[in-house]
Amino acid sequence: MPGAIPILRMGNVLLTTVHIELRDAVAEAFQADVLSAIEKRRTSGLIIDISGLDMVDTYVARILAETGRMARLMGTETVLCGMRPEVSATLVRMGYSMQGVHAALDLDEGLALLRDLQNSTKT
């Protein structure tokens, strides 16, 4: 189901909000959509806002973390924004700590973090 989750572009940053309960097929299509968007144009950062999710199981977590790692291979840093406390606690208790992606409290923080990351690679 491509296109179920809209991907916005702001300059060289991709912005997505996952606010619906993710079906497996949607999650996989989302990964493909993001990667092809990165492929099309130079992208330095990817922001995934997950503040709307009250549950992330290992399947969805894996898709998100993998997307982050794949994006990094293509030169794009990923920031997960707005993860809820209970989601974070649950993932970590399951032994899943999403290595390889950055995290931020909200969208503003996420954008600021991306800027910092870009500056630090330039110097």
Partner: protein
């Protein structure tokens, strides 16, 4: 509840979440139970193709909680210890499904006979 399509993963966890919330579980306990239910429902669907989930309330002398039982007639699990230790990787569940779920709930009981099927029972008590 029947499990035989991918959508059932969502339906089962929604039912579990509703019952947990109705029992006054806090957000952490609700997320833990719902996530475990999601993992285990996906396990049934991916490995056995179909099965059932029974969601019910339980009470003991001191506390109340929610129990979910997953039952399938799939291939079963040969090496339960290894699966529960985590790291047993299959195509879709990355091996954290079972071991991870166990860490999220208060009681976890897994019985499996190779070739006959698997039953997993989980209980989450409400934090006082």
């Amino acid at each position: 509840m029947k499990i035989d399509t991918e959508d059932d993963v969502i339906l089962v966890r929604r039912a579990v979440r509703d019952l947990a919330q109705a029992h006054g579980f806090d957000v952490f306990a609700t997320a833990a139970l719902t996530t475990a239910a999601s993992e285990l429902t996906r396990n049934v669907w991916v490995h056995a193709g179909k099965g059932i989930a029974v969601i019910e309330e339980v009470a003991s002398d001191e506390q109340e909680g929610v129990r979910v039982t997953f039952q399938d007639e799939g291939p079963g699990i040969a090496d339960i210890d290894r699966v529960l230790a985590g790291g047993f990787s299959t195509a879709r569940s990355m091996g954290l499904g079972l071991s991870g779920s166990r860490r999220l709930v208060d009681a976890f009981d897994l019985r499996s006979i190779v070739g006959r099927g698997t039953t997993v029972e989980i209980v989450k008590w409400k934090a006082i």
